[in-house]
Assembly symmetry: C2
Amino acid sequence: MIAIGIIGYGTVGSGVYEVIQTNRESIAKRAGEEITVKRICDLRDFPGDPAEALLTKDFKELAEDPEIRIIVETMGGVQPAYDYVKMALEHGKSVCTSNKELVARHGSELLAIAKERSLNFLFEASVGGGIPIIRPLNQALTADEIVEIKGILNGTTNYILTKMTREGAEYEEVLREAQEKGYAERNPEADVEGHDACRKIAILTSLAYGSQVDYEDIHTEGITQITKTDIAYAKAMDAAIKLLGSSKRQGKIYAQVAPVLVRSDHPLYGVNDVFNAIFVKGNVLGEVMFYGRGAGKLPTASAVVSDVIDAVKHKNTNIMTLWSSKKLELGCFEDSASRFFVRVPESERKQAQKLFQADGFQEIKAEGITGEYAFLTGVLTEREYAKKAEELSVLNRIRAAF
Amino acid sequence: MIAIGIIGYGTVGSGVYEVIQTNRESIAKRAGEEITVKRICDLRDFPGDPAEALLTKDFKELAEDPEIRIIVETMGGVQPAYDYVKMALEHGKSVCTSNKELVARHGSELLAIAKERSLNFLFEASVGGGIPIIRPLNQALTADEIVEIKGILNGTTNYILTKMTREGAEYEEVLREAQEKGYAERNPEADVEGHDACRKIAILTSLAYGSQVDYEDIHTEGITQITKTDIAYAKAMDAAIKLLGSSKRQGKIYAQVAPVLVRSDHPLYGVNDVFNAIFVKGNVLGEVMFYGRGAGKLPTASAVVSDVIDAVKHKNTNIMTLWSSKKLELGCFEDSASRFFVRVPESERKQAQKLFQADGFQEIKAEGITGEYAFLTGVLTEREYAKKAEELSVLNRIRAAF
């Protein structure tokens, strides 16, 4: 039998407790021994909770308990999670976390501490909720050099964009509804401005290339500028607008988070509602995609518990994870290239044509939309696009993945 | 440096050699040491091949070479692959194989031999080509009890069905074209009759439940009975026909391979052409799906090489794989239940309505099709359906996943 402790008894933490209770038997089979939650640390009280007797407000009771071999960290946020996780590792305990902020900021350091002590620092749940993506990147796609990662990494924004597409509704309206249903936070900034997706693509890119990607260096746009007019044009192009976190190797590695037009023949096109998916391209493997629930109590807890099982199976053995603290030098965002879908006032039609006429230029018409002129450019760098766009009153522009 | 040997220098075997040459550096980083192909066994000659100097016709030269620590088996077929793999394990070498027949028939035995000797028997490439699915099932979805697996496991049949759907063409016509393009074998039976998918779902089901599933026990239907009329009805139902290998826990485990109607809101619906995808449902995780190239030289070789890397990382340590030789008792096929889409001659309309009228019964009409009557039944067991269908001259019937 192996005892574990949980810090943070919120949605995911209580999910971890529940999953371990529910699947006790099959988990014991997979881990090779029974796993039991010995202690849970949270500053709040949970009167009447089935785990009430295990609760403490003092993390030391977990950290200093020699019987507890693994700590699950599901508090979220960088502090005090970082201090607690470090303390746990220093006390000889492996750590399994769902905390993307912590992993994005301190992943390489915490991995190094774990390695030094033949422990494990595991974080499958930090990206894509229940979808196995960290372990596949780290342990399955090892024969490949990764050339591209493109992911729908945030369920809230995907839900909003899907709703806008299905109902032809405006952003504000759908956001309000999502908030009422609990799919979006009262303060939705982290989701809708792309910050959440940004941390996740930073983690995936760091793992794919084995070096530290600082999320502050990733150009990030959210979905707040997307209108129902944009969606109507997307449909006219047989495409959908998805908030993608992506990184691509073209000489250097270029990373970004932005709404992107995805055509119906791309596997990400059909990923709707709160689902997430991560599309990975390897130089020999070609394309693979991982799809599932990117959030939610039990799916996320399932991923955390799969890490706990791995930690049990690798007692005293560090699972190799390539993620050095050496900073990966990202390519300059202004040099990254794509096609752009652009809308300008009807009065600027001629001017737009003159500026952008080139290979790949294409007029786009959508039923019922008048008074403006829309088109797809050929492939341009951000710099080239921005320079031309300066001469127009652009209503909106969205990058296209085709 | 670690030396490996390859038996079977066909498409996949030569792909393995190519992948190891191409990604030498990144592979060494992931494995922790350089991997080099020392010897290749094949009865054929390959004059002028880059690996010509490594070739031998005598497997003993690999098996008895103490420097060779890992054998890649990419011959296909049960014999002599089985003898060679056993010999390799008995000589203290781990084995990585892409051979689904071998794994489906002898997986549990070969795993046991490997375990006993602290070696590894790995077979990521045996299902889903380049898609990581064996390792995720075995190592990632460990917190869950698997309740359902549903996969598009054969690229040839998916290509044919996709073509029939897109072009409204008949089966024979598309098969001929696929054969000309090399997407289907001259003798296509193993693919089109579902045998290939059957071996693969047997492997996945064995792994999901930890016990041996004999593929002969799985009810298997192919796609040869599917007509363009069926496809037209599928479209009218906003569905597509996919050859699915599936297993489901409903009390007992029920497994089958058959063409199934999948609606457009299901993630398998958009999996087209030669792509494969495996949809897995866990009791806490919910739904995840793994998508990618189910065949092809380099994707399959990529999966084999990822196994080789794992074998290098686990020298002298057996990676736990639950798959005992104890036979998993499958539920009786006649007891498995689903809805059925049924076509009968127009003259039997009244009779059909009388027989099948119940909850869920639904008439289906498709443009331009006359002289027949089509409908969806409610949920029926195979036995119930068969009994009613006896009283009709059924033109075709396809199970529905909705």
